[in-house]
């Protein structure tokens, strides 16, 4: 597909922050001389105890106001996490307006109610709604990314998302259909294109994100995961067959209850490990392919770390009836931040602000309700 680094900014005519010559100089300097680059780690400074209090107080206020306060709660939580995510001692800033989020949520609730009732009353109506959703989903994704970008800032410079509906529609619907028709073989391509779409339409100030091709590396990753999955199915199948045969001789019947438990644990553990592997790899590949002006990333998440994190989180959350949730969220974010380093040529001082338009929160809120995962 597109070759990295050769694209000119194409959306909204947004000028690149750096003059072409300067940019070329950066590009030339970046590849061979990694040593010239300053390494700025992403530091996450939130504390689980403090976040627990914020979380629980805001939850109580949400209940007391019958959900209306939830928009304010969301903004406070986001502001807390953004501010505690620091690069070179500067935190991020979340500027979302609770009223905008509340409006979006009300629309989302109405849509969700229509959707769930439509299905019960008439299957035909549900089909109409699904078609409507197919048309609306790209819009929701674009709006959601735009709202989040518009309300995120670092060093008083906003992010900006310039992706268009048409482009998003092409990725989601066209490549989505391709994935279905090809029985899933097209999925890594869809995922790669979706991430590329999301990434390269972001701007930090006037500096547009660039992202290299992900298709080949995504295919390698998914193939590996798929191979491991098939292999473990075969091994598991053989083991069960051998065991049940062996036991049948002695015990005139099916497997005793206890035998199933190790298999269930192994199966669930394997699934979790695979999930963590994909998470880690996709995340690393994505970040490592992104360039923002003089900035590149070094993301080194490890599958087994993530899997361990998830297992402990799940056990802790269930054991505490959900009270460990803030702790689980904080430690997961801390791990992710700790494995991300910025490689900066020169410094972070020369980004230039652009003009940005106000964006409604509807897309984001609806997307949240329907649980879209854009994977970035």
């Amino acid at each position: 597909m597109d070759e990295p680094g050769r694209k000119e900014p194409h959306l909204g005519g947004n000028p690149y922050a750096y003059p072409t010559a300067e940019r070329a100089a950066i590009n030339v300097a970046s590849a061979p001389a990694q040593a010239d680059k300053h390494r700025s780690p992403v530091v996450f400074t939130a504390s689980a105890g403090e976040y627990f209090r914020i979380w629980i107080v805001n939850l109580a206020l949400t209940i007391l106001t019958l959900g209306i306060y939830s928009a304010w709660a969301k903004v406070r939580k986001k502001r807390y996490f953004y501010s505690h995510t620091r690069i070179d001692d500067d935190g991020f800033e979340y500027r979302g307006n609770p009223v905008a989020i509340l409006k979006g949520r009300i629309i989302a609730v109405i849509l969700l109610a229509i959707y769930s009732f439509a299905g019960h009353f008439s299957p035909a109506l549900k089909i109409v709604f699904v078609i409507f959703l197919a048309i609306a989903v790209p819009w929701l994704i674009v709006r959601s990314l735009a709202f989040n970008a518009f309300n995120s800032a670092y060093r008083n410079i906003r992010l900006h998302f310039g992706g268009t509906y048409g482009e998003c529609f092409k990725v989601i619907v066209l490549y989505g259909l391709l994935t279905v028709i090809s029985l899933g073989i097209g999925y890594p391509y869809l995922k790669a294109q979706l991430i590329r779409f999301a990434a390269r339409n972001h701007h930090y100030g006037t500096t547009q994100f660039e992202i290299g091709s992900l298709t080949r590396s995504f295919y390698r990753t998914y193939l590996k995961a798929f191979g491991v999955l098939i292999l473990s199915f075969i091994v598991l199948g053989i083991t069960v067959a051998v065991l049940s045969f062996g036991l049948r001789v002695g015990n005139r019947g099916a497997l005793p209850m206890g035998v199933g438990i190790p298999f269930a644990v192994a199966g669930y553990g394997g699934y979790l490990l695979l999930f963590a592997y994909l998470r880690a790899r996709i995340s690393n590949l994505t970040f490592n392919a992104i360039t923002i002006g003089p900035v590149q990333f070094e993301s080194t998440l490890r599958a087994r770390d993530l899997a361990g994190l998830y297992v402990v989180n799940i056990v802790a959350i269930i054991a505490t009836l959900g009270l460990a949730t803030p702790w689980a969220v904080v430690r997961t974010l801390r791990y992710r931040a700790g494995k991300t380093i910025l490689l900066v040529a020169g410094g972070l001082d020369s980004f230039v602000a652009g003009q940005a338009r106000q964006v409604a929160a509807t897309g984001e809120a609806v997307g949240e309700m329907f649980d879209f995962d854009i994977g970035l």
């Binding site: 304010w72 959350i317 001082d349």
Partner: protein
């Protein structure tokens, strides 16, 4: 005089300028490298505090000051963001966190035990009977696809039982088109299900298990209670509500684990259905007496059912593994803990 350190960002580039800020009578005075400006207090907007995160002051023209000096800001802007400042005071102390926790636990307990059933009943009242019937038809379709096949019962016998149902439902005046659906559902064993909308599924095994028609009538009377009180629809609504509630409470956790939502929902469903059983039982006793039958028949068929489950370990496939018996009975009891109680109540109601 208040003075504090901050970093100045002009909003045009990402450059940072460390500054010293001094508060004058009506303005802030910023001094840093190549920077010396004065900003009237009226033009400064300070953000609300969240935890101990760095504070941001918005200056005219899109510039910002970032500082960690909470004390200085509290002194300079004592009245800013009063509502969120109050929220911050709540968030700061463990005592309030504990109070919040108790409030949440109380609200969750209340809504699950009292609120949800009331809301579900209220919503169910808005659902027309023919739509309930369509839901029931879908459920029956699913049963036919998975567990049940055609009944082996003769046409005469089927007609006689339909008539029995007619006797039981005569004079109810509730517009439900009551009718029996006979099925052979091997794995299910002797059982009957009230579908939303008036259909009652009866398994061949149940007909075989009953010693006489009054015992069958007792079961049918119980199922009629489920239909009339719209238990199927209400249970579905309550479970959906509980799942939504737990998802809302767990919030961030949902992305981490779906299990945390499913597990308590299943447990709640169990509790709800037990209450519905008791309601349907009470209806059945009344119904039976109305047509001149004793509730003792209900007790009899319940005892036979319990016997059946204890003997076969809840299985119907001819497998007489003695090792499974203990587990099967335990399984049955965990979902029907109050069977003995229900039998006693039927006998007391004679």
């Amino acid at each position: 005089m208040t003075e504090f350190s901050a970093v100045y960002y002009d909003g045009r580039t990402s450059a940072r300028t460390p500054v010293r800020v001094r508060a004058l009578d009506h303005s802030l005075h910023l001094v840093g490298a190549e920077l010396n400006i004065e900003v009237p207090f009226a033009d400064v907007r300070v953000d609300a505090r969240v935890g101990d995160t760095r504070r941001i002051l918005s200056l005219p023209g899109g510039a910002q000051l970032h500082t960690d000096d909470h004390a200085a800001l509290a002194a300079l802007f004592p009245r800013a963001n009063r509502l969120e400042a109050w929220v911050h005071e709540l968030e700061r102390r463990w005592g309030y966190a504990l109070a919040a926790l108790m409030l949440i636990a109380g609200a969750a307990w209340w809504s699950v035990t009292l609120g949800l059933p009331v809301v579900a009943k209220w919503v169910a009242d808005f659902v027309p009977i023919d739509i309930e019937g369509r839901l029931g038809a879908e459920t029956l379709y699913a049963l036919d696809k998975s567990l049940c096949t055609r009944s082996a019962l003769g046409a005469d016998r089927q007609q006689a039982l339909q008539k029995l149902l007619g006797t039981l439902t005569s004079g109810l005046n509730d517009r439900y088109p009551y009718h029996l659906e006979f099925r052979a559902c091997g794995a299910v064993g002797p059982n009957a299900f009230a579908l939303p909308g008036g259909a009652i599924v009866v398994t061949d095994a149940l007909i075989k298990l009953a010693q006489n028609d009054p015992q069958i009538a007792a079961v049918l009377a119980h199922e009629i209670g489920h239909v009339r009180r719209r238990h199927g629809l209400r249970l579905a609504l309550q479970s959906a509500g509980a799942a939504a509630l737990i998802a809302a409470l767990a919030g961030d956790a949902v992305s981490i684990t779906g299990l945390a939502v499913i597990l308590p929902t299943a447990l709640l469903q169990n509790g709800y259905s037990r209450e519905f059983e008791n309601e349907a039982d009470a209806d059945a006793f009344r119904r039976l007496k109305a047509i001149g039958l004793s509730p003792k028949y209900f007790a009899e068929i319940m005892m036979r059912l319990e016997d059946y489950h204890a003997k076969s370990g809840g299985r119907q496939d001819g497998d007489t593994r003695d090792t499974a018996t203990g587990k099967g009975a335990l399984d049955y009891l965990s979902t029907h803990p109050a069977t003995a109680e229900r039998i006693a109540r039927a006998l007391a109601n004679q």
